[in-house]
């Protein structure tokens, strides 16, 4: 039968890719929603200590960060190489923590305020003196839920 004629040129029909951008955009939006932008530019450098019994820090919106470490290279000249505290985008003293915590707390929703957690991200070489000062300041500010940030050890 002549119906099954294979001699004619039958190219593969082109795949319609017009919806591909939409697919990619969906992916893009997904990532934009689930991830968070790095909010602060770090002015101190730190390597957090390691531990095995760590818990996950949930609900990023309830968490306030306090960074402790040596100033990065570009701030060495002005700040020296002693361990410093960073709150938001600037260096701070222990006495600033109280105001900072209260300010962060008031910017939260009222029902979330009791669940406020402060995460201390400190370099593992830091002396405990400065951390103890931070802790005392947090106690004074009634930010009692704290979290020592650490990396899991393998």
């Amino acid at each position: 039968m002549g119906k099954f004629n294979k001699t004619g040129k039958r190219g593969m029909p082109a795949l319609n890719t017009s919806s591909l951008p939409d697919l990619i955009f969906t992916l893009l939006f997904f990532f934009m929603i689930v991830t968070t932008m790095r909010e602060v530019t770090l002015k101190v450098q730190f390597k957090v200590p390691q531990g095995t019994e760590l818990e996950k820090l949930e609900k990023k919106s309830l968490v306030t960060f306090i960074y402790v470490g040596e100033p990065t290279q570009e701030f060495r000249k002005t700040m020296g190489s002693e361990s410093r505290i960073q709150l938001n985008d600037s260096f701070a003293e222990v006495s600033d923590i109280f105001d900072y915590i209260n300010q962060e707390r008031t910017s939260m929703k009222e029902e979330d305020q009791p669940y406020m957690t402060v995460s201390i991200k400190a370099d593992k070489e830091t002396k405990m003196g400065i951390i103890a000062d931070v802790k005392q300041a947090l106690r004074q500010a009634y930010a009692l839920k704290i979290n020592y940030s650490a990396h899991p050890r393998n």
């Binding site: 955009f25 019994e53 818990e55 002396k127 951390i131």
Partner: protein
Amino acid sequence: MARGNRKVPDINSSSTADIAFLLLIFFLITTSMDTDRGLARRLPPPPEKDQKLDDIVVKERNVLVVLINAEDQLMVRGEYLKVDQLREKAKEFIANPYNADDLPEKHMKNVPFFGDQRVTDKHVISVQNDRGTSYQAYIDVQNELVAAYNELRNELSTEKFGKEYAELNADQQKAVRMIYPQKISEAEPKNYGGK
């Protein structure tokens, strides 16, 4: 003049996908999905102004004092200890399996699922560190203490329910927590010498 209906040529959109890909990769790099992990702790509320410092008297047998000095050495109840020995020591202290006289006293307590249990609910682990202690040493100690509690709770859970502590339901976890309540206190730092 050519005036008939001239169609606007279609813009070639085959590269939109690539543009979107570029955007996607940009966001993948600049954002972070890393879940922060850490040791959760609860600080004691600030002391009242007229509160006497010595109004809570704890019996000596109920306290496990862990001292860390500026050289990151440990002393537990008057003896030197390595960090990796601390876990066993703490477990023995918390559970007091043989009712030793110098380990925490036990009290009868009615615990759901378990019935009446003798529980060392008055024990306190007190971590005292120097201002010169390194943060890593401090976290190591905290980590070992938490590990001691976790191991005890896991042992109890597997014995009673045949499951790890983390897999129990909320009520069961609460019961296990009643038997092994986590009590780590942090004293005000002392300056044992030098900066």
